[in-house]
Amino acid sequence: MSALLEIRDVVVRFRVRGGVFSSAGSVDAVSGVSLDVEEGKTYGIVGESGSGKTTLARAVAGLHHASEGSILYRGQELRGLVEGAFRPLRREIVMMFQDPIGSLSPRLSVKSLITEPFRIQGMRERDLDAEARRLLAMVGLPPEFAARYPYQISGGQARRVGVARALALSPRLLIADEPTAGLDVSIQGEMLNLLARLQDELGLAIMIITHNLNVVRHITDRVGIMYLGKLVEEGETEAVFAAPQHPYTLALLAANPEPDPDAQLMRVELQGEPPSILRRPKGCEFHTRCPFAQPRCATEVPRWQAAKGGAHRCHFPAGWDTAAAAS
């Protein structure tokens, strides 16, 4: 029953220095998020800029301190672990970063980059040449790439190097932050197919962070939609796509224009701009932009409600007749 990764009511709080208009205080970039990532499965976290999705990912990877809640990895509490205690876990929990080239140390050759995990974890007895060759082959790069430097490779190739070093030590959980950002459509598929193949081969669990719902739809088992540091909807991918309940999920789905000029647009238009996390709206945080907002939404925080295959936090969910939607 217990999942590989159990996130419960996690809050990541940052201190804010006072400016001209605001006093010093704190801000919850992640504000009470709970979700489970099962062994060998893919979980997608979807949200736009400022939704806290990257912060959540980094908290799981031990790069931000979670202020409240618990992050259980195979039953072990990660919250509050000091770096020394976290280090052995870094073999099992690895992260891929948004900027493919910027996340590679610029003065290191590809060989050094992909064999670094062995050196960091003190596994010097390994034949690093052989490991480099194995990892390059695994991500589909020719051995000649070992001698290249980050500035000599393309974004797509740098992504593969990122995958190679993340998977060097055969981890169990890969956190991929926008793994297709900046990639051309024709290459995006290659990256996602590579991740899917490696997942099948290595039995890896993947937590994928993205703003692109189209990507999530094909490669994840479960999704969570984040808005302003909170999950607003969560569930099995197919169920969420078939019958999105939360208006924000609807808006996100509609905001991914299809490459078809005659597509029937079921557009949910949002009003205004995303509010600042410094001034989180009262009640439902989405009510300021929600086209369906009612007076109640401005005062009462919606609770989780179960829906088919998932759950959502909305007073007035879309209430899809799933049968009608499918037709």
Partner: protein, 323 residues
């Protein structure tokens, strides 16, 4: 008549390895009052094309051949002073990054009034025009907002201000270079809607550059598909997206996950890489990645009529006709 008519444009960059032929024999046009989308992946020559149109090219760039006709004048033959007079009045631009296009130390109002320096209007009139433009792009409370600095606006608002500023001079041509790429999807939709409304009102021609097929489909009337420095297909958005005539266009459309309705674990891709633009292969530029490659592809295909107003550079079209 076309606002912009590019004919046979070739641009190269001198590099230590030899000449990088970034654009080769590119022809396309923007009819008056139409929105034309240019779509293509990295290395297709989109940026080079824009810089050639507005004549702000890198120092190592060289125009090999061709014309860039703007309202009948060949821009490549204009003096630098004439170009300066055109930019910002007749031809306006909106760039990708809304965070870097405004001067951070001047208020938005000041910047919007400054760009009207060519107009013979009083300060109050200029300010009023600025206010009207802000209202037009959907900035609430424009009068007060004019006194604010760029950092006080969100990314989506700044891009709308950039559009307002670009359209203030009522240009004949607006060039929008990936204006929504840096924005979130829900804001992207909003910007596109505004752009469409404003274009209707001002009636200018728009050249809209994007790698996002969905955005092109929604916004544009016509589309130009570019690959590795060549135009491979042009036509109305409906024709091109519904019945792509070039295998690259077809492959590109298939790769867009938004196109795939049924959940799939293996996504389509276009295997291979774009060719080296310094050492160009002969023949069709797409041949080595094309699944319908055949003997004829050793020769470079010319643009052929594939349908009503739809043209593509592929041998299959002419072969189908003769067969």
């Amino acid at each position: 008549m076309a606002v912009l008519d590019i004919r046979g444009l070739s641009v190269g960059y001198s590099t230590p390895r030899g000449e990088l032929r970034a654009l080769r024999d590119v022809s396309m046009m923007v009819p008056e009052g139409k929105i034309v989308g240019i779509v293509g992946e990295s290395g297709c020559g989109k940026s080079t094309l824009i810089s050639a149109i507005i004549r702000l090219m890198a120092p190592n760039a060289r125009v090999g051949a061709g014309e860039v006709r703007f309202q009948g004048r060949d821009l490549l033959a204009e003096t630098e002073a004439q170009m300066r007079a055109l930019r910002g009045t007749q031809i306006s631009m909106v760039f990708q990054d809304p965070m870097q296009t405004h001067n951070p130390v001047l208020t938005v109002g000041r910047q919007m009034m400054d760009i009207q320096y060519r107009e013979r209007l009083s300060r109050a009139e200029k300010r009023q025009r600025a206010e009207r433009m802000l209202a037009l792009v959907g900035i609430p409370d424009p009068e007060a907002r004019l006194n604010q600095y760029p950092f006080e606006f969100s990314g989506g608002m700044r891009q709308r201000i950039a559009i307002a500023m670009a359209l203030m001079a009522k240009p004949a041509l607006l060039i929008a270079d990936e204006p929504t790429t840096a924005l979130d999807a829900t804001l992207e939709v909003e910007i596109i809607k505004r752009l469409r409304e404003l274009q209707d009102e001002i009636g200018c021609g728009v050249l809209f550059i994007s790698h996002h097929l969905g955005v092109i489909a929604e916004l544009c009337d016509e589309v130009v598909v570019m690959y590795a420095g060549e135009v491979v297909e042009t036509g109305s958005v409906r024709d091109v997206f519904h019945a792509p005539a070039h295998p690259y266009t077809r492959a590109l459309l298939e790769c867009d996950p938004g196109h795939i309705k049924v959940k799939t674990r293996v996504l389509p891709t276009i295997p291979g890489n774009i060719p080296d633009l310094v050492n160009l292969p002969g023949g069709c530029i797409f041949a080595d990645r094309c699944e319908r490659r055949h003997a004829a592809c050793a020769a470079r295909p010319a643009m052929a009529l594939a349908g009503d107003g739809q043209r593509a550079a592929c041998h299959l079209i002419t072969e189908r006709e003769t067969a």
